[in-house]
């Protein structure tokens, strides 16, 4: 049988956890930028742009992330494009996160009250000014709690990058388990680490949501 869990195993798991955070950040930044473009495209005045971005969201939301990852890693390799596990995971997660964040943010932009759009138009603001000076500042406020909540999903979903051999927390757990043969103990530790990463974000999201609820009531009362 294998040895006992020692400090080196824990350091190795710690490295994995850092890569989980790194990959989450890559997915958040990449998916955030792309998702913002998707959100704007979804409410574009051009019908073709709306349809194309809507189709993208439907395609990604109808496919499991695991299949997107396999497509990005084995699929691209099979047609002659060799990508590293990090690149495959980063690109796949970016595409995936963009579809979900785009849809969340579209809802937030559209939930800015209609009179705000009309008032901005009445003040002769250009379309860009209306978006950047009136709509987006309010939409960001609405979007913060669900976006923080979605970051939990991103962190959890990076665990799937383990299947294409990217050594993040999950994969490092599998490697440690291969030397220890104590799957239950190892995966329990992994679960605790994921929980420690995700739970503070969940709490923050709930707190922001409650605070925003208060802000909203104040607005309607005043």
């Amino acid at each position: 049988m294998g040895g006992h869990l020692n400090i080196n195993h824990l350091i190795f798991l710690g490295h994995g956890a850092l890569w989980t955070i790194g990959l989450s950040l890559i997915a958040l930044v990449g998916g955030g930028i792309t998702g913002f473009a998707i959100a704007l495209a979804r409410i574009s005045p051009l019908k073709s742009v709306r349809i194309a971005s809507g189709a993208y969201v439907q395609l990604i939301q109808g496919t499991p992330l695991l299949v997107i990852l396999f497509l990005g890693y084995f699929g691209l390799a099979a047609i002659g494009l060799n990508v590293s596990p990090l690149a495959a995971a980063g690109i796949s997660l970016t595409l995936y996160v963009a579809a979900y964040l785009g849809e969340i943010w579209r809802g937030c932009i559209q939930s800015v009250p209609k009179p705000q759009w009309e008032a901005a138009e009445g003040l002769a603001l250009s379309k860009v000014q209306r978006m950047t000076k009136v709509i987006l500042p309010q939409a960001v406020r609405i979007a913060t709690p669900p976006t923080v909540g979605f970051m939990v999903q991103i962190i959890k979903n990076t665990s799937l990058a383990s299947v294409v051999g990217f050594v993040e927390l999950m994969r490092s757990g599998q490697i440690v388990n291969n030397s220890l043969f104590e799957p239950f103990a190892v995966y329990a530790i992994i679960a605790v680490v994921y929980f420690a990463l995700c739970y503070p974000l969940s709490l923050l999201s709930q707190k922001l949501e409650r605070r925003m609820g208060r802000g909203m009531t104040n607005l309607t009362l005043a």
Partner: protein
């Protein structure tokens, strides 16, 4: 760089794809039904007078919602094995998916329960309805009616998430794809086909839930708006 795509070579394996898709739907079906019951119980438990039960239900929901499904599946798989239970991959997959979707269902159902006006329950008490009658007709059914869209999209996400069960060798759609691509060396075509199949499955599920909703909640259809 020559890229040659040969979809027919992969498509001739269609019986395997269909078998995988059927198993994916079976996984989704059992986990949805069991998870809905389990999650509703957990949601009821969170409102229990006993702090122990309420705390246990909250801990369950938070633990599941803040850890990846992949880790949960491995924990169930090796956990059951370590206590000497030798179950098929399919059973383990259903158990893990049920535990997972139960937590999300509990959160959604709790929102539904909280949206029931107190006055309706008091009115039902005033009309001398029994406790089970109140729970069923005044709380549960209207709550489900209210959160039905959120529940159904959660169940579609569950079907997609069941792809992770390929990692414990449950022979569902993604596992079939892994096998076919390692056999034909046509990974790109295989995963494109599987992605299309998943999209079809999710559309079928959405349509099914929409039809079921019309049948289950005629009031919603008559009003033309969500309650």
């Amino acid at each position: 760089m020559g890229i040659e795509l040969d979809f027919p070579a992969v498509l001739q394996r269609w019986p395997a794809f269909v078998g995988g898709a059927v198993l994916t739907l079976e996984l989704a079906f059992f986990a949805t039904v069991l998870g809905a019951v389990f999650g509703t119980l957990a949601a009821v438990g969170r409102g229990a007078h006993s702090a122990l039960i309420a705390g246990a239900c909250k801990a369950y929901v938070e633990a599941i919602r803040n850890t990846p499904l992949l880790v949960q599946i491995f924990l169930v798989y090796f956990g059951l094995a370590s206590v000497g239970l030798k179950l098929s991959a399919f059973t383990v997959a259903v158990a893990a998916l049920t535990i997972n979707v139960g937590a999300y269902t509990a959160e959604i159902m709790r929102a539904g329960f909280e949206a029931i006006p107190r006055g309706q329950i008091e009115a039902a008490e005033g009309l001398a309805l029994s406790r089970p009658q109140i729970y069923w007709h005044i709380i549960l059914l209207p709550a489900v009616e209210r959160v039905y869209p959120a529940l159904t999209s959660q169940f579609v996400l569950l079907m997609l998430a069941s792809s992770v069960c390929s990692q414990i060798s449950a022979e569902e759609l993604t596992a079939v794809a892994n096998y076919i691509q390692s056999d034909t060396y046509r990974a790109f075509e295989t995963y494109i086909i599987v992605a299309v199949l998943y999209i079809i499955l999710s559309l079928v599920m959405r349509a099914g839930f929409w039809g079921l909703g019309l049948f289950l909640f005629p009031r919603r259809r008559r009003l033309g708006t969500p309650l």
